[in-house]
Assembly symmetry: C2
């Protein structure tokens, strides 16, 4: 039985007794309506009307005057809130700026417990990036690659004729946190997305999104001219190909005048690209950029490339892209994943950041939890992204993209707490200086505050919020601990990237898709030697950092096995051996999730039963998964190390032969439910 189905019965009972049903559909936008606030605004377009409407419905404080006023400092999306004697003034250069300002005011009010709020001083906000973009890996057949919250939000079948309330709700949610662009489809793109009928569907969505300042982008298949119009080639140097793209872009802009541009995955994991014709990534990107430039569109060209034959996958993007620095058109942005491999629970930053001084770069972060327990595990990712910003200065980036965790499930993201990652991505894309803690505070109170209880219950309620925040703040490190501590990476089961398979060995499969390629564990030790004595990936980093990483005694231990192959008895800073420290981290991960269960229970009196019970159930799955991970990895590594478990370590409850038989049999867009997991382990 699906865990979520199992819960329905008690839920129905509980909801009658306590709070109004809360299935999570309202996200963090649960403010009361009907405030009838006094809002004065100039005449304007749909965006201005939206801003006015939102404030009128929910603002409880002083009267507000909205003003449109040119202001270089505020740019096209910034805003200023000025407290005057008897009212507030919200100023921006554009209607979008006013909209973001309106949502900011409401956020401040909600963070104040939903009570009327008056800023004590002027507030000025300007986004750090002009482009704050969600990437949807949605396929036109309705599936979502690495999506664990149901099917695609876009009902391509019924578009453009039929709309959906959720299209607007989606745009509004994005606007409320400052996201201003969305790539609608998977980077493994079907050429059909550029067919006339699909462009019309895209236009329908763009029209819904426009009042919320949300522009649409598309992922395109580089071989589209061949697939759609039978051109003999997709060679970017071929004039007919370039012409095809120019015409296709014109066709798009005729219908969608503010179309954002293209996102391209080329010559990566089987996708077509310019290299198929002996051209460089730059030549491919530039051809598309030339088609888009007259219309103000951009190309986001992904640097996620690696070939099965070459040495050390972690080095390949750098090797391939670094020589192209300065060769891209101005309206091309190279989109680089945060780490050099692939969205692992922890990676060092990709050395391409900082290495391409002549090329605009954007970071691709992953909001969906492909490698982080899907929609079953709580893993608040703001701390991970902040960690990235510690190494890659936000100012060195042109833009930010995040791979969405949104689907058509009623609560949008599957796990009620996973909404926090959509929220945090938007907030950090607006202002990367915000702390993960502050974002957690904002999100929690907006998302869970009881709408029935007018007054807070004081100290106890504060303790409950503190507990929920502790779960969020510690969650990602817990996942790292029970999945892949100390720099381990990619120990995942074949295909679905959910459970552990450090032993995985598929005859004939790409070696760089096998866990053993990454952990390289043997009788002597464990880890990938990327030091100067190994693959020398460290040399791709700036000298000072490279020296630090190159020495196993100065390399931060959280990246140790990423950069070093070390003997099992390697002494760690704690005084433990590497083996003991591995055991300690896995055990700690399990204990941390058990603690999350205890902490979560503290929230019960203050939040709705519906989401309380769902998260409580999901935490059960997470604990069992954590034990599964710990047992699988430690039992497997123990076979190699031959070392006993530390005396005080909690012992495995599974056997390795049993665990090796676990095959979840799920596709890469499914999250396993409790029943499937239980029946296997």
């Amino acid at each position: 039985m699906n865990i979520r189905t199992t819960l329905l019965l008690p839920l129905l009972l509980c909801c009658c007794l306590t709070a109004k049903a809360e299935e999570g559909s309202r996200l963090w936008l649960r403010q009361a309506t009907g405030a009838e606030a006094q809002v004065t605004a100039p005449r304007g377009g749909a965006t201005l009307q939206t801003a006015t409407h939102e404030l009128r419905e929910a603002w409880k404080g002083q009267p507000i005057t909205l003003r449109l006023k040119k202001d270089k400092f505020l740019g096209s999306e910034g805003f200023r809130i000025t407290p005057l004697a008897d009212r507030l003034e919200l100023t921006a250069a554009t209607e979008r700026g006013l909209l973001y300002g309106a949502y900011h005011l409401l956020r401040l009010q909600e963070s104040n417990g939903g009570h009327a709020f008056t800023p004590q001083q002027e507030i000025t906000e300007v986004p750090a990036y002009d482009l704050r973009i969600l990437n949807h890996w949605d396929n036109i057949d309705g599936t979502v690659e690495r999506g664990y919250a149901g099917s695609s939000l876009w009902d391509w079948e019924s578009l453009p004729e039929q709309g959906s309330d959720r299209y607007e709700a989606y745009a509004r949610a994005n606007a409320s946190i400052g996201i201003n662009g969305t790539v609608l489809n998977n980077v493994n793109a079907s050429p059909r997305i550029l067919s006339r009928s699909y462009i019309e569907k895209v236009k329908a969505l763009a029209d819904v999104f426009r009042p919320y300042g949300l522009r649409v982008y598309l992922s395109v298949n580089f071989a589209s001219p061949m697939a759609l119009d039978s051109l003999p080639t997709a060679d970017p140097a071929d004039k007919a190909v370039a012409r095809w793209w120019k015409n296709k872009v014109k066709e798009i802009y005729r219908l969608i005048p503010d179309f954002g541009g293209f996102l391209v995955k080329a010559n990566s994991e089987g996708q077509p690209g310019p290299c198929d014709y002996g051209r460089t990534h730059a030549e491919g990107a530039n051809m598309l950029a030339d088609a888009l430039a007259p219309h103000g569109g951009i190309v986001m060209w992904r640097a996620f490339v690696y070939s099965p034959g070459d040495a050390d996958r972690a080095k390949q993007a750098y090797i391939e892209f670094k020589p192209l620095d300065g060769k891209f058109r101005k309206n091309v942005i190279v989109q680089v994943k945060n780490g050099p491999v692939d969205f692992q629970p922890r990676e060092p930053y990709s050395p391409l950041f900082g290495a391409m001084q002549q090329t605009p770069l954007m970071a691709e972060l992953q909001i969906t939890q492909e490698y982080l327990g899907h929609a079953n595990h709580v893993a608040y990712l703001a701390p991970m992204w902040k960690e990235f910003f510690q190494y890659v200065p936000p100012t060195s980036l042109r833009a930010i993209a995040g791979v969405s965790n949104i689907g058509n499930s009623p609560n949008w993201c599957g796990h009620p707490l996973a909404q926090s990652n959509w929220y945090a991505f938007g907030r950090l894309a607006w202002n990367p200086a915000l702390s993960a803690e502050a974002i957690a505070d904002e999100w929690l109170v907006q998302t869970f505050r009881s709408l029935e209880r007018q007054e807070t219950s004081g100290v106890d309620e504060q303790a409950a919020y503190k507990a929920m925040k502790q779960i969020l703040m510690e969650s990602r490190e817990a996942v790292v601990n029970y999945m892949m501590p100390l720099g381990l990476h990619h120990l995942f089961a074949w295909g679905h990237h959910y459970g552990p398979e450090p032993w995985c060995d598929i005859p004939g499969a790409r070696p760089d898709w096998m866990p053993s390629y990454y952990h390289k564990a043997d009788k002597e030790g464990i880890g990938f030697d990327r030091s100067s004595r190994g693959s020398n990936a460290v040399a791709q980093y700036p000298d000072s950092l490279a020296r630090l990483l190159d020495d196993a005694y100065s390399c931060p231990e959280q990246f140790l096995l990423w950069f070093h192959h070390l003997p099992w008895n390697h002494p760690m800073q704690s005084g433990n051996s590497l083996w003991e420290e591995l055991c300690r981290h896995y055990s700690l991960g399990v204990r941390e999730v058990r603690k999350f269960q205890q902490l979560w229970d503290r929230a019960r009196p203050y939040i709705d039963e519906e989401r309380f019970l769902l998260v409580q159930s999901l935490l059960k799955i997470q604990v069992r998964d954590a034990v599964w991970w710990k047992d699988a990895c430690l039992l497997y590594f123990q076979e190699l190390s031959g070392l006993p478990f530390p005396d005080e370590m909690e012992r495995p409850i599974h056997t390795l032969p049993q665990l090796k038989q676990v095959k979840l049999g799920i596709s890469n867009y499914e999250c396993p439910d409790a029943e499937l997991l239980d029946s296997q382990r």
Copy 2:
């Protein structure tokens, strides 16, 4: 896959590398052979020859002289070991006494690390009871009711023609610990056991057992005259019936002159008995006793009776048997289970003990772990039996019976550590003053000492044995904690008595076979009120104890919910509420079994891999079962109490709806394997 099968592969490898294969078949009798000791003995029968042979083969110390000498103090089974200048003298009044003395010497030698041993002073041993009897619940179809170690040891099909090495090994093992009687078949007896052909089979076994001082007994069906010879009645007042039994007994004694007698379960759980004809248990027992008396045979008449209609099952045996005190023949012993219900992990003693001053009583203990995790859980039962002796003075009993845990599995008892219960039963039946610790020490060293390593490894090896002993000593209390702490009882799943089903409700079934009959949990509280305000079962105990038990504030907390129905917030001695204390006990049980895993690992360097790995695997099952029990009971009781879990308590990983769906589908002679358990939870 069966957990034991799963292990075979690694075992085969390990055994080659380390110790000689040890599947446990040699039990605690692993002494080296070929000692060629100097043993002088008089001429004698088979038993004396066995004693001489055992010593010659294994004794490493001084020469020994065996002497048969009448000695009132030693009785028919005692012995004396006297150290002389150049030799030891072993004296007894009978050959059996010499045999027990021989095994005692060898036990002392093995407890001395297998090294030559000279007693420093005279040793005199006399058994506390003349009758030290195993009850086999073996059916003639080869199954064993509540047996979890394979099929019956008795191959009725091939008897009497074919023997088996195991028949003699079985008799030898019993002799080595002083057991001198065995009831071969189930108390739910097939009448066919008394047919001529089966008596011949029984004779064949009796002939094998005789040299080891082991007499056979049979469980009989009270309606045997009707079933076997079509008598119209089994009324004990009917002369034809009495004659039938006299003749049947004669027939038995012609073939088995030292036959021990009958064990009878009558008018209990559907078995026929004298009450079917308006006669008392005494009248039924006496009729059989009269038939056996001329041959020196006895009747063991069970007091395990309860009817579905009457109030409080725990009171019924007392109500029915107490009035019969003094009405039984001299060769009848009433056999009473240790507790008033049925072999629960913890019960107060049955009030029948001490209540029938004119009637010989024997205690029926359960060695097989019907309610204690079957052959999957480690539960060393000597502490439970010692607890019984704290309340029931050993001298108040005439004899001791133990329901066997022996089957045809290679290691005899299923779980390698379950052999300790067979061993401890025998040792306590010989001398109930022995401590559970001392018996554990004896058994561990004899059972696990490495035969390859001549010298012990000193301190570390001592620590390993200490760890194993800690597991044994704490194991039964751990089971109580994670299954049924604080006096809870009979929360078992319908039928197989393995897993938890506190919610069990089978429409139309006997209410006293339902857990709710015993826990009586509701919104207000939990427990069976057997105080003077309830069923008044306390009144069946001696006054001083009854007063203690009657008051919830003086009743020992380990029996609290056996005697009292109390509110969830009842204050406990710890300062916790009853609810919190329940949660604490269940959690403690889980932690204890996890600790057993850690402790067991310490033994690895010093014992054979084969048994090490099997116990290691079984402990994994036990941990998962402990969590299952904890989750099932606490989640179910929480639905009633409505109380939150204590903040620091480890939270459930199962959901109640899931757990309610678990149906193991095993018969009452099967132990569920890991695969079955895993597929269900």
